[in-house]
Structures are given as structure tokens and as C-alpha cells.
Amino acid sequence: MNTRTEHKREAADRWCEPTMQPPTDIQEFEDHFAIDVELPGVAADRVDLQVEQGELRVTAERLHAVDENRDYLASERRFGTYCRVFRLGDLVDPEGITAELRDGVLRVQIKKHAKAMPKKIQIN
């Protein structure tokens, strides 16, 4: 996985507004990377994950209930389309991506290629 900040932000800014990029944590484990994206109020069928040209693109649509009887006293939450781009490097296998949405957090797991995994070397 390529984690160079400029690169990722540049890629993201091409097509998605910085204010709609959800907070994300990325963690590396022995055999995979885990990306946790906060998507409160988004239904699973409104999340779209695509791998294209070495990028993983996450888009999620958060719909605003339109109801004229609602008289708003405070409105801080954001609605619209969340988006985020992650550059996949040579370390990962684009076929080995799984995703799960739970309690408003999307967890994407990306398997590393076998060649990228740590190897234990026996001492004879």
C-alpha cells in the first residue's frame, strides 16, 4: 500500500470534496491491511467499493430525510456523498478485498500478496 499523503490527497481531490472525505484509520497487520472508514447513517446498499487503476475508491451516499414538518434547531451533521480514494501498491492483492459495514463503520480488509508477507527463515 502506498501511503504517501500527497499522492492520495491529490487523487482524492480530483473527484471528491475534502469536506466529504470521512475520517479513516489504516492499520497494517501481518497478512493484511485494515481500513476503517466512519460512515454514520449510511445503509450497506449505499456503499460502493471499486478497484480501478490501482486505486480503491469508496463512495457512500447518505440521504437526508426530506420532511417539511421538521423544524430544525441545530443541523451539524453532513449529508450527501462521502468519498475516499486509497492507492493500492504492489504489496496487496486486489482480488483479496473484503468489506463489512457495522454500526456506521466500514471495515475494508485487503490481503497482502504472499510475496509481501514476512517470511520466517530457519537457522540450520
Partner: protein, 155 residues
């Protein structure tokens, strides 16, 4: 009116796309604190982060929706005292963490607390709340006296 310490915006260094918005929000909070003669940030002492809140009303109820992604139901506390609603809790990391394996840390964890005063009296006995898709939804029925009443014009 007491002297309050000036708090510059944003001492955080990690990149957060909404920092400017949060900065403005903090600035506004400071202004309100000053206006109402509170110690700056008094209500935020317990907060490591501030969840976003929507409040709206219809004829019968107040509705409070709070973005709390990735929480456990048991870690959320809701208290109503008079016409003041407080939502607090602690957001914990789900996985046991190993600090050096993080590539990017943008999510907020830790304690939070938000209080809000509702504009009219409520029926505290009948408040209900549910947590779904990372959003806390609270329905607070208005007290009988606070509901709009239709008055017939006698002919």
C-alpha cells in the same frame, strides 16, 4: 464577567478535512461561553471529541440525532435533567491496538459529552432512544403544556 484564557484554534497537527469547520465551531462556542459568562470550554472539559448533532421538532416531539459511528450501545449515556439533555459516553477502539502499525489516524476516540437545552418542557418519562448504523436517535415528547393547541373560533 471573568477573564478567560485565550485558546488558539487547532493545536492538533494531524490532517482532518473538517478542521476549519471545527475551528469555527470552537470559536462560536467560545463566543457563546463569553456571552453567557461561562468559563471557556467549561462544558467540553470531559470531551476528547465532539459528535455532530441535529435537533429538530415537530408538533409533538423533539428529535435529537447524533453521529456516533463505531460505538457500543452500553457506552452511551443519556440523561435528562429539567429541560437540559446530556449525551455522553466513551468511544473505544475495537481492536487491540499496536501503536506502530497505524498508517493513518483520523478517527476520534475517547470520552465525549454534549449538553443541550430544549426550548420547552418535555415529558422525561417517555423519552426513547435507539442506536442504528452508528447514529443515536432520541425522541423526546413535549410536555402537554408545550404542545400547540388548536383553538376553535366560536361563531
Amino acid at each position: 464577567m471573568t477573564l478567560v484564557r485565550w485558546q488558539p484554534r487547532g493545536t492538533v497537527s494531524r490532517w482532518a478535512p473538517n478542521r476549519d469547520v471545527e475551528g469555527i465551531q470552537n470559536e462560536m462556542n467560545r463566543m457563546f461561553d463569553w456571552f453567557f459568562g461561562r468559563e471557556s470550554g467549561e462544558s467540553l472539559v470531559d470531551s476528547a471529541w465532539i459528535p455532530a448533532v441535529d435537533i429538530f421538532q415537530d408538533a409533538d416531539n423533539y428529535h435529537v440525532h447524533v453521529d456516533l459511528p463505531g460505538m457500543q450501545r452500553d457506552d452511551i449515556d443519556i440523561t435528562m435533567s429539567g429541560d437540559s439533555l446530556t449525551i455522553s459516553g466513551e468511544k473505544k477502539r475495537e481492536s487491540k491496538q499496536d501503536d506502530d502499525n497505524f498508517f493513518r489516524v483520523e478517527r476520534s476516540f475517547g470520552r465525549f459529552s454534549r449538553s443541550m437545552r430544549l426550548p420547552s418542557s418535555v415529558d422525561a418519562e417517555r423519552i426513547s432512544a435507539k442506536y442504528q448504523d452508528g447514529v443515536l436517535q432520541i425522541v423526546i415528547p413535549k410536555a402537554e403544556t408545550a404542545r400547540p393547541k388548536q383553538i376553535k373560533v366560536q361563531s
